[in-house]
């Protein structure tokens, strides 16, 4: 079976996110003063061949821990769907 996995990698809460700050300032300058807490991360999509959904998720977690996210500075979220 094949699964489509959406990985969301975000800068860890509490760490300075200058990109998020810059975007927040730009939004305020455009009149969107109500926007706050902006953080900028990265989205990665991939297709994974696996026997089951849990297996696909477990493999992508390993990919995240080894490469897709930096455990020092980033957290990640996974969403698995049938491809």
């Amino acid at each position: 079976m094949s699964f489509r996995v959406h990985v969301r990698v975000m800068p860890r809460g509490g760490l300075l996110d200058p990109q998020g700050q810059a975007v927040e300032h730009a939004l305020a300058a455009l009149g969107f003063g109500e926007a706050g807490g902006v953080r900028v991360g990265r989205a990665i999509e991939l297709e994974v061949a696996a026997a089951s959904r849990p297996e696909a998720e477990a493999r992508v977690r390993q990919m995240c821990d080894k490469l897709l996210a930096n455990p020092v500075t980033e957290d990640y979220l996974l969403e698995v769907e049938d491809a």
Binding site: P11, L15, L16, P18, Q19, A22, L67, L68, N70, V72, T73
Partner: protein
């Protein structure tokens, strides 16, 4: 003669400057390519600056998995000296040879200018030519130079004296900002527990010749030239 391998990745720069600086102090310096599996008997490994693999994903993240980095891992595990400069520092962090990570500069801009740093560790393979507390003016050129680590890691680095270089103001009236990128504790360079693996954001190889100004960076190379492998670190298979 000391064998010094300078590792080149697609996107490395300052690799020739690094090679020449090592040659200038009398080392047998040579390039190894990222696809090579052997360091060819290197005593010392230098990871130069640049934008390996286009800095895709994160600076240094892809380079970490190149074949030559497996050899660098073994070299470091055997106690062999490794100096990572700029992108080389980022690669060493991604490879977990040094703790922490280097994130986007706090000001978001690429910073390319001379900065003042203080040598806080003068007993590493790469800083032994400097007296502790020496101030240097070295160029930096990076977009991802903000050193970040967990609070307990930072405390450990400070408690164990593993901050090798720290950004400082030259004088109170100095026009140079003391921290060009927002690094935690103004950290510009660190080392591993043994002091054999060192990562620094400034580029000493760019200011290692008097032709270019006071050669404040030359000491990193005269230091490594003075280093001799101890008997306990000699490894038959790597030589």
């Amino acid at each position: 003669m000391l064998n010094v391998a300078v590792v080149r990745f697609p996107g490395s720069n300052c690799d020739f400057d690094t090679l020449r600086a090592a040659e200038r102090v009398g080392a047998n310096a040579y390039f190894v390519w990222h696809r090579d599996a052997s360091l060819q008997g290197a005593d010392v490994v230098l990871l130069p600056g640049g934008f390996s693999y286009g800095d895709y994903l994160r600076s240094g993240a892809i380079a970490r998995f190149s074949p030559i980095m497996q050899a660098v891992q073994r070299h470091a595990a055997d106690g062999g000296p490794v100096l990572g400069i700029c992108n080389g520092f980022q690669i060493l962090c991604e490879a977990h040879l040094l703790p922490g990570a280097l994130m986007r500069n706090a000001g978001l801009t690429f910073v390319s200018k001379p900065v003042d740093v203080m040598v806080e560790r003068s007993d590493t393979v790469f800083t032994s030519a400097y007296a502790g507390g020496t101030r240097l003016r070295l160029p930096v050129a990076h977009g991802d130079g903000r050193f970040v680590a967990a609070d307990d890691t930072l405390r450990m680095l400070e408690a164990e004296g593993r901050v090798v270089l720290r950004y400082v103001a030259a004088t109170e009236a100095s026009p140079l900002q003391p921290n060009p990128n927002g690094s935690a504790n103004h950290i510009a360079g660190i080392c591993n527990a043994a002091g054999s693996v060192v990562g620094i954001m400034p580029h000493p190889e760019r200011i290692a010749d008097a032709l270019l100004g006071p050669p404040d960076g030359l000491g990193f190379f005269t230091s490594l030239a003075a280093w001799r492998p101890r008997a306990s670190t000699l490894n038959v298979t790597s030589r």
